[in-house]
């Protein structure tokens, strides 16, 4: 069944489009997880956007989008973070994030946290925000470099991207353009058990859900699981490591940038 997102991302036509002759000016919000845990995702996102013809800035003011506070009930803390982020990013043509869950926070949830003039600003701001694969495909019509004899990968749809933003076809189309075959999971629309702080509050449930996702991914026969959200990927990678499962985990930005054969940077540093 096709997912029925509550509100799909505006189609590119609905959003303001700079004249084609000038490069699109994009603010890259790398997300805190990529910043801290896997800089290669942020670097690959930056390069992909540049290759797609954008002028990219990484605003130095960026921290966390406020999801931990929001999802743990600290709405006032989350609202202050939302205001700070909107202030730092609202002057760019586009704001692009390599995460469906953080993009969903900015697009869907910031308006729920704010009132009055801030609410209007949040709505205007939401119109400029894109998840990375959506932006690369729907706005830039980007054709990533074709990869020769790429091994098949399994794809994990993260829930927020899938249901809040309707991201399903974009990563698959980009992977197809890059010549990377995708094996579909049997239960692609079921959560992997990460859920932000859920995984720390309810580790037994989270672990069981991760096991089911890993089993499903393993059953595809692909050795690598690709996703658009680093949170899910790190949680699955950590579970697979705990259970000595050999699967590789990569963010789609890394894969499209041609890093499919290199293991995550931490391990390469250690070797």
């Amino acid at each position: 069944m096709a997912p029925t997102p509550r509100k799909t991302l505006d189609t590119p036509q609905d959003k303001q489009e700079p004249t084609p002759s000038t490069p699109r000016h994009v603010a890259l919000y790398v997300t805190c997880l990529a910043d801290l845990m896997r800089p290669s995702v942020a670097q690959a996102s930056l390069e992909l956007l540049q290759l797609a013809g954008c002028e990219v800035t990484v605003p130095a003011q960026q921290t966390c989008c406020g999801q931990p506070a929001y999802n743990n009930g600290d709405f006032s803390g989350a609202a202050r973070i939302a205001q700070q982020l909107i202030e730092s990013f609202e002057d760019y043509d586009y704001v692009v994030l390599p995460s469906g869950s953080c993009a969903g926070m900015l697009i869907e949830h910031y308006p729920k946290l704010l009132e009055g003039q801030w609410l209007e600003r949040a709505h205007r701001f939401a119109g400029r925000v894109y998840e990375l694969t959506t932006f690369l495909l729907d706005v830039c019509d980007y054709h990533p470099e074709k990869q020769r004899s790429a091994a098949p990968v399994a794809y994990h749809d993260s829930c927020a991207g899938l249901r809040e933003l309707g991201i399903r076809q974009q990563p698959r189309s980009l992977l197809a353009r890059a010549g990377i075959p995708v094996e579909e999971l049997a239960q692609a629309d079921v959560c992997c058990g990460f859920g932000g702080t859920f995984c720390a509050k309810m580790p037994a449930l989270s672990g069981a859900m991760a096991d089911q996702k890993l089993q499903d991914a393993g059953d595809t026969g692909a050795g690598t699981l690709i996703g658009g959200d680093l949170g899910c990927l790190l949680a699955l990678e950590g579970r697979a490591s705990r259970r000595n499962m050999p699967m590789q985990f990569q963010h789609i930005a890394e894969v499209l940038r041609g890093a499919a054969s290199t293991p995550p940077n931490a391990k390469s540093d250690a070797s």
Partner: protein, 473 residues
Amino acid sequence: MQQHSRDFLQAASTAIGDPESAGTRKALGLLMPKLREQAIETFGGSDDFSALRAEVKAIRQHALGHLAHYLESFTSAARENGSAVHFARNGNELNDIVLDICARHEAHRIAKGKSMITEETGLNAALEAAGFAVRETDLGEYIIQEANETPSHIVGPALHKSQADIRELFLDRHDLGERDLADATEMVAEARQVLREEFLAADVGIIGSNALIAENGYSMLVTNEGNGDLCANLPPVLIVCTSVDRVLPRATDAMAMLRLLVRSTTGQAVSCYTSFYAGPRRPGDVDGPVETHFVLLDNHRSEILASDYAEMLQCIRCGACLNHCPVYMNAGGHAYGWVYPGPMGSVLTPLLTSLEDSAHLPDACTACGRCEEVCPASIPLPDLLRDLRRDKFEQRVTARRWRWGMQIHAWLALHPRLYQRVTNLAVAVMHRVGRRHGVIRRLPFAGGWLEARDLPTPAAKTFQAMHQESLGK
């Protein structure tokens, strides 16, 4: 019903560790979404379903927005039909009203159809304490009554029992001599034989309701076994126990809801029995009860209606959110510790009991949104669960280490320069700790994460530090 929601984490862990019940739930989690999807595609298609969903949402919101008016209409119409209508503010009042009716009729035996409302009020225990013999007649409810257990699912109360469990239970509880009970058909036949006696002997029948219809004072009931109809029509006294939020304006509204309900519940186009109870037997009727009572429970529902959680009252009790929730499928229904499990239960339980006693339940959600996607009543369940977490945070029900941790994190996020210094330091430490193995297995403040999984080791520096270096800053 006694509440055990405080033990959610432990009970969920136990359920995960039991391979047999985990297997049953896994099968259910695969089957139920498929049945629902097939039913929607087969009977009208998803566009038709979406249109129905919008229609029913509007009906429910209208009915709830004018609840007092429609309850008055229902009451006067039902009284005109010869039924008695009673209102109960809480569970004890409902139980007392029912006990009073049973005592007045000098009843001994009571046959019950499935009713989550009477689970909520603990009616069976109250009736038994007063000396009445109560028999549940819905097959699932019968099984758990015999096993002295509680429902694990709002539609299929005995879904946690395997066929082998039930066979053993029947052999033990039914004094019917040597027999095989080789398959489900034989077990169902045996239950039917045992229960037939109960219907015939009952002095009072008690059933639930899927909808009360304001314009004609009727009650609608949907079943697949027909047991509700036997409870309603064979004993001389019928008592319908339900809650005030079940009322709908018109019979056509009930029809619209019915089409959504059955598809969402079991993946059928229509259930085997859909009945409308119009009141006591009229002159010339060949059957039906001599006396009909409606007992309508409030139990905090008026408060919910006036609160930020009013949308929860749109629930039509189909169970689709349970069937699509990966947390429910792993934890099992009993872990939730009260009457209503799964996403709808995690919202309702704190509202109907207390936030303190149910504090884990709003957290038992990854915000994956699958429940909201399938909910026929368009209830934003993940949002309501997050709102309950806001209440927890503001009322300091959230554990102190989480509240303080979140506040420190938010404060840091609001000070970007300091944030970057702190994260650079943290990353450098994590990199050193984990670089030998590629993963981290021990780290302060990461106990929850590390309980079930390793933490992949980060690179030596944050992206922002590297990026600023590359820009020559």
